[in-house]
Subunit: 336 residues, 2 copies
DNA sequence: CTGTTAGCGCTTTCAG
DNA sequence: CTGAAAGCGCTAACAG
């Protein structure tokens, strides 16, 4: 077994209170004693138990991250952001994956509380009563990432999905496109999926363009589904001159379908993605897309969480991460 | 504050020992008492503190994962594998990122021990004396992932990088290629980078092909560096008919360079990658590559870790995850 | 400035 | 089958 504070106290010939003091750079400890204790600690390589410490201080220096998946690069990068700042603040990370299951979200919310995490960063499509109950009952500092939160006390960090999509579609329109298809996120994907669609719809409406049902297809965020969704649109008979996809992966899948069918991109159809994953520059033509910084999102989420934990400063209920329109080769002016 | 076991005891009119017993489905507890306690727990939504429990039981149901990065999809998927099995066994995951820094690896190894993780899955380029010291001193069950371990008691889960590369290059040779370039991993990337190179070298040697220094270039695992590495090879004057890249990302970068220079792929140069990331099917031409299952790797690593933790069964020192050669459009027969 | 003494919330002998 | 008591490793008053 490991050495305990008692062992150190004995070895250094002091009380464990003193050892505790030097460990915590406690107030005034006689320099000689301190040096002595320190050298003993050094020699035997003593490390205090975070568990015991957490138990009495009622804090763990652990924060929880609950996200649907991690194989998705967007979440991976987000997590790197959180991790970077967490490291600076001396927090460790407990990670749980939910596969978008509300049940698992609840399950892990509870589990994280059991482990006494000091706070949680949660990515959920929508906060249900059950989420809120747990968070409020146990007073767990919590920030929502990726979706807008409407719950006071639970701030969120996210994109302005509406504006981003609006601008993307406006850009297509400015390039002379009017017959613009969209592959949107599943209807149950939460607020951000809806907002992207709303941006699309509003941009068209503002230009007096009326879209039909068959301009729109639904897809989860995979390339495979994007492929199918594009197929659906084309087979419906609609001939768009441009496509706005709710994610880069969808866009790539769609692009693949079109290329497989002999369409030339962007000559026949312009394509606009969302996310700016690194593959956007690796595919040909390079993909136009909406850029935002996932890492920034993660960092901001953590910073807000810290504010919540320290109770020093109340973070804004909503924090927007900036976005930019990135024009690459997949979009060209439409000539009629 | 949260309710404690004492509250429950009081509320249920029993001793906390009894409450503890029912929580742990302890031996025989009078059914009436048990039901009573259970209903109280249910009613007030009591959840025992994992910290306190961990302190006395000397286990945390936490396992640590220490990897260089997570934005890299390979690690992301690995982590999903670990997570999937961990969930079944009721373990939570503490995650730390090291950016390949040995110092950070050591740092987090210590930190994880402090938090009393029951075991650690570590991805490190090579185990130094310092790693081993910590692991052995504190008797932390630990499995190495992605690299072969030569330390008894620290088993590893990894690919047979040598064979995989050997087979890939043999495949190119079988397709009539002899002037085969390679972009390899950095020299300090550890054993698996070396093995991939050795596979390449051996395959050529076995066919009596002598390669020169300018056939080889070095790149980290990014597309940007792959681009530069390919440029280097071409500008050296060597005209390969095929390229074997140590990763898909490198391959894609290289492909981009070649395409930018007007080369036609695969007509002018065949390309072989490694990893089978999902983009391999999204780019044109689709990339030939070495496939293996990162998720399987993660799952296997966890299973081995559990064996180590439970001390029931000693896991094999080395566990190989199977690989396969995937031929796609980026490789064609060379016609001289 | 230092040691003694209580706990933090839980499990686990050990009696009964 | 149940309760009392000790203790996991640490911190935090409180005296001295």
């Amino acid at each position: 077994m490991s050495l305990t504070i008692n062992d150190i106290a004995r070895l250094a010939g002091v009380s464990k209170a003193t050892v505790s003091r030097v460990i915590n750079n406690g107030k005034t400890v006689d320099p000689k004693l301190r040096d002595n204790v320190l050298s003993v600690i050094e020699q035997v390589n003593y490390r205090p138990s975070a568990l015991a410490r957490g138990l009495v201080k009622n804090e763990s220096n652990l924060i929880g991250i609950i996200v649907p998946e991690i194989a998705n690069i967007v979440f991976g990068v987000m997590l790197e952001g959180v991790s970077k700042v967490a490291e600076i603040y001396g927090y460790d990370i407990m990670l749980s994956l939910t596969e978008k299951s509300t049940k698992k979200e609840i399950h892990y919310l509870n589990l994280h509380r059991d482990k006494q995490v000091d706070g949680i960063i949660l990515s959920s499509r929508s906060l249900k009563k059950e989420h809120i109950e747990i968070i409020e009952r146990f007073e767990i500092p919590c920030v929502l990432i990726g979706q807008k939160s409407s719950v006071p006390g639970i701030p969120s960090v996210h994109l302005d999905n509406f504006s981003a999509s609006y601008e993307a579609v406006k850009t297509l329109i400015r390039f002379g496109h009017r017959k613009i298809a969209m592959i949107r996120a599943p209807l149950d994907d939460g607020e951000s999926g809806d907002e992207r669609f709303r941006g699309y719809a509003t941009a068209l409406a503002d230009e007096g363009i009326q879209f039909e049902d068959d301009w729109i297809s639904v897809s989860d965020f995979s390339a495979a589904e994007g492929y199918v969704a594009m197929k659906q649109i084309i087979e419906s008979g609609f001939q768009p001159t441009a496509l706005f996809a709710a994610s880069d992966k969808i866009a790539l899948g769609a692009m693949n379908y079109l290329q497989d069918q002999g369409y030339m991109i962007p000559r026949d159809i312009s394509i606009f993605g969302f996310d700016d994953m690194d593959v956007t520059e690796l595919v040909r033509p390079k993909l136009s897309t909406v850029h935002y910084s996932s890492i920034e999102m993660g960092m901001t989420a953590f910073r807000n969480l810290i504010k919540l934990i320290k109770k020093e400063e109340i973070p804004a209920q909503h924090t927007n991460v900036p976005h930019q329109i990135i024009l690459r080769d997949s979009v060209v002016r439409h000539v009629s």
